[in-house]
């Protein structure tokens, strides 16, 4: 297993891991609740139900931090075959908390009107 740090955007973490196991197996470990529980316990999740599932490819969960102020976020696990018969697992973890969203909106609105310019 190796880890590669991807360029990061603000408020998000992107990581990529390589596993020697085939994608089907990694998919089961990531998307089956009883198996997922072994490495990502439901206490970490705001909702044990996935937000969205694309079978064999992508699953998304809502997470809630276990310490104040219990920020909520969305994690996407994306699975693909790598060149060595193993699996690439990409983790995209984005903050998505209603309190921070409110702040972003407020900041966007204080600019008065906005001028759009052609590139």
């Amino acid at each position: 297993m190796s880890r590669q740090k991807m360029p990061e955007q603000k408020n998000a973490i992107e990581l990529e891991y390589e596993f020697s196991e085939p994608p089907q197996k990694v998919w089961r470990a990531v998307s089956t609740p009883e198996l997922r529980e072994n490495w990502l316990p439901k206490e970490a999740l705001a909702d044990p139900e996935a937000i969205s599932v694309t079978p064999g490819e992508e699953v998304r969960y809502r997470l809630r931090d276990d310490t104040p102020p219990f920020l909520e976020s969305i994690v996407t696990f994306r699975i693909s075959a790598n060149a060595h018969g193993g699996t690439s697992l990409r983790i995209i973890h984005e903050l998505d908390d209603v309190r921070l969203r409110k702040a972003e909106k407020a900041a966007a609105n204080t600019n008065g009107f906005c001028v759009m310019r052609a590139a």
Binding site: M1, R3, K10, N11, I13, L15, Y17, F19, E21, K25, V26, R28, A29, V30, L35, N38, W39, L40, D65, T67, P68, P69, L71, S73, L89, I91, H93, L95, R99, L100, K102, A103, A106, A107
Partner: protein
Amino acid sequence: MIENEIFRALADPTRRAIFEKLSTGGMNASALREGIEISQPAMSQHLAVLRSAGLVKEERQGRFVNYEVDPEGLALIAQWLAKYRAYWPARMEALKLLLKDMDQ
């Protein structure tokens, strides 16, 4: 380090309670004190610590000072990023162990 300051600020249960109360919406110091057994000077002190950690911001509204969770949330975001950058490698180690244990 701002991260240590955040940790220190939220390590105190009273400050955590104050911060959580403010997370539900901005309010002034007397509204904040409702339901929390605390003197006014102690409340001011706790708010000062939360402010210097960048967690809370104050805004004067006429005769009152309104407190709210720092809308920029920069300190919060920095803390969140630091936590989960360390979190995922540990989770991936656990996933790796699970994969070894699983049948095909």
